[in-house]
């Protein structure tokens, strides 16, 4: 077979691998979280589509373990290796990128990347995609303001404080608050993206602020769902709740009317698209140089989901056409700012 890779420096995929020789690897934190499990399932679906299997890796939210797995992976056979990676945090991206570059493995990363790390500086790091957290934070913030009638107190549940997602989304909320001067942020606490922690924190915030709380802004759906439980246990049904991720339970809650809004992040698509980009380059169907700079680091399309449009999202379907080599960047909302 013609080996494309073998060391850094060399221009990627001059010749292209035999499709059967491509190794597909998807790595997320764990399989005990529906969103990330669906990501890996999406990767499997893509692999099946091209007659391969995906190697599923999980690192349990442990940064060092993620690095360890990747360096072990890169110590093996890296010819025609394609990796679709969810870095645990921003700081975990550079070493992954450097490692892949040195080993000549095709890499797509999602969600987390330090702002000053440029994809275009690398040959094998093909693309980084994410959702615009500031925008999603703002979108659900606005939806929340609207739901409470434009004025009143809200509380915010932040994600894991040192993740870019948590920070961007909160920044989005602040933008939204600036635009809705009558909405007051009563309190903000972290519940670490966790349903159980959100339950406890919300209960405490509810006793602290009592009836002043009209809305709860959560940086992800898991926390929103925890907050919903807290509201139910406190016998409060007058509080609007918003989240991000569009996990199935949140969509159901929106259908039921207990939750106001969420923003879609399409796990199965994310699991497939990263592999697809790598696969297309590895097999030579797409030349790395041909990827436009604005497609090297980009925001994927996301939708605000409310009761009126929730039906469209209840069973997200990945379209095989999304992964065609000439259609990979169709969901782009533009380059990352």
């Amino acid at each position: 077979t013609e080996t494309a890779a073998g060391g850094g420096g060399e221009t990627a995929a001059a010749e292209g691998c035999d499709p059967a020789d491509v190794t597909l690897v998807g790595q997320v934190r764990n399989e005990s979280n529906p969103y990330e499990a669906s990501w890996l399932d999406g990767g499997d679906a893509f692999a099946e589509q091209v007659g391969l299997t995906q190697e599923r890796l999980t690192y349990d939210g442990d940064s060092t373990r993620q690095q360890e797995q990747i360096s072990q992976l890169l110590a093996g056979d890296t010819d025609c290796l394609v990796m679709n990676i969810l870095p645990n945090g921003d700081s975990d991206t550079p070493p992954i990128v450097e490692g892949a570059e040195a080993a000549g493995a095709y890499l797509v990363t999602q969600w987390n990347k330090p702002a000053d790390l440029n994809v275009t500086d690398y040959d094998y790091w093909l693309s980084h995609l994410t959702y615009n957290g500031v925008e999603s934070g703002k979108q659900i913030g606005d939806a929340l303001s609207e739901a409470i009638g434009g004025s009143g107190g809200i509380v915010a549940l932040q994600g894991i404080l040192d993740t870019g997602a948590a920070k961007d989304r909160f920044a989005g909320l602040e933008e939204s608050l600036a635009a809705n001067p009558d909405v007051e942020l009563l309190d903000d606490q972290t519940a670490n993206f966790s349903r159980a922690e959100a339950l406890e924190v919300t209960k405490t915030l509810l006793t602290k602020h009592g009836d002043d709380v009209k809305g709860i802004w959560a940086a992800n759906d898991d926390m929103a769902l925890g907050a919903l439980e807290a509201l139910q246990q406190a016998g409060r049904d007058d509080v609007a709740v918003v989240g991000i991720d569009a996990v199935p339970d949140a969509l159901t809650a929106i259908e039921d009317g207990t939750m106001t809004a969420t923003v879609s992040s399409d796990g199965p698509w994310q699991g497939g698209i990263g592999l697809a980009i790598g696969y297309c380059v590895a097999t030579g169907e797409l030349a790395a140089e041909d990827i436009a700079d604005e497609d090297r680091a980009w925001y994927a399309e996301q939708f605000l989901i409310e009761q009126d449009n929730v039906a469209d999202f209840v069973s997200p379907e990945t379209d095989e056409a999304d992964f065609a080599c000439d259609n990979l960047f169709s969901r782009s909302q533009g380059a990352m700012s």
Binding site: N30, E31, E55, R56, L57, T58, D60, G61, D62, S63, T64, R65, Q67, E68, Q69, S71, Q72, L73, L74, A75, G76, D77, G89, D90, S91, D92, P94, P95, E98, P114, D116, L117, L161, D162, G164, K167
Partner: protein, 330 residues
């Protein structure tokens, strides 16, 4: 109340000075466990046993070895240090923040600073007589908070990667420098312990603190020293992590706590103190690393990986702990 007689006569381990085959075997158990595990992984995936793969594994293991080595001395003294991982994370942030000002001296400054923080915990433990478990548990959350605040809850990229580049080099082309540094650390600390009265003080403190104290051993100093070393090792491990992540981050090493303690125990060091060694922790850290990276790489699915991990560390300890030295297992 005096210690009661042993219910069972001590297992008939030979008391003569020359170690017997059996004894030699027990002290090699950690290495045997390591070899068996490596063999099993190779059988599962013949591609696993390659030079580059082994090189990657030992490079990966280096920070864990360093963390475990420092904490081993605390464990030998009968205490525990739960703060190592959080302190290591904090140190990565310090490193990135101080690098622009201190340049080449940053590494030493970090090790000195974390050593001092470790010493402080030791002093609190010794003076206030608070169990080390609690002092370092408190330390863990305090360091995490400080790291979060001073880093503004985000990674801080290294201003200059050259200062840590040496750690990413290879000795003789195959041995990662970080691993060599870890080996040297283990060797130096072991030798210093062995060649000076320290070892006998450390063990006496771990086996029986009151006897050691009434025997005039400098128990408090030894303990403070152990925590200092543990802190300094957390600093060194931080430099290693920074060298491979090119940034400092407030939670970078947080997940290394349980693996580090596991490395110590898997090596056969008694968690109750007195018996054990840094060499054992070195082997233990390699076992733990192989489990952490090897199982998924050879293709064990995530759920089964956890089950296997649990079963294997328990089995490894069953193999390595020398029960003639540790009579009561708690």
């Amino acid at each position: 109340m005096s210690t009661p007689v042993l219910a069972q006569p001590a297992p008939d381990a030979p008391v003569v000075h020359r170690p017997t085959v059996g004894q030699r075997l027990t002290s090699f158990m950690p290495v045997i466990a390591l070899v068996v595990l490596l063999a099993a992984l190779t059988i599962a995936d013949p591609g696993f046993l390659t030079l580059s793969s082994l090189t990657a594994a030992v490079r990966t293991a280096a920070p864990l070895i360093v963390l475990a080595a420092g904490a081993t001395v605390v464990v030998l003294c009968g205490g525990i240090d739960l703060s190592i991982a959080a302190l290591c994370s904090l140190a990565t942030v310090f490193f990135a923040l101080w690098l622009p000002d201190l340049g080449g001296a940053t590494t030493l400054a970090i090790i000195a600073a974390t050593g001092a923080i470790g010493a402080l915990q030791g002093v609190v433990h010794v003076l206030l007589r608070i169990p080390s478990f609690i002092v370092t548990l408190g330390g863990m959350s305090i360091f995490a908070a400080i790291a979060l605040v001073i880093s503004d809850a985000g990674p801080i990229p290294l201003a200059d990667r050259d200062s840590t580049k040496w750690l990413t080099l290879y000795v003789a082309g195959v041995l990662p420098m970080a691993f060599v540094v870890a080996l040297v650390l283990v060797a130096v600390v072991s030798l210093v312990l062995k060649l000076t009265p320290l070892e006998s003080w450390v063990r006496a403190t771990g086996y029986s603190e009151s006897a050691a104290r009434l025997g005039g051993a400098p128990v408090d100093l030894v303990k403070i020293g152990a925590f200092t070393l543990s802190g300094a090792c957390a600093g060194l491990a931080a430099v290693m992590l920074v060298s491979r992540n090119f940034s400092g981050s407030p939670t970078m090493a947080d997940n290394l706590l349980l693996p580090a303690v596991a490395a110590i125990v898997v090596g056969g060091t008694a968690i109750t103190g007195g018996h054990g060694s840094l060499w054992r922790s070195l082997a233990g850290a390699l076992v733990v690393t192989l489990l952490r990276v090897g199982l998924p790489i050879v293709g064990v699915p995530s759920a089964y990986e956890q089950i296997l991990y649990g079963a294997i560390i328990v089995a490894a300890v069953a193999l390595t702990l020398d029960r003639s030295k540790v009579l009561i297992i708690k």
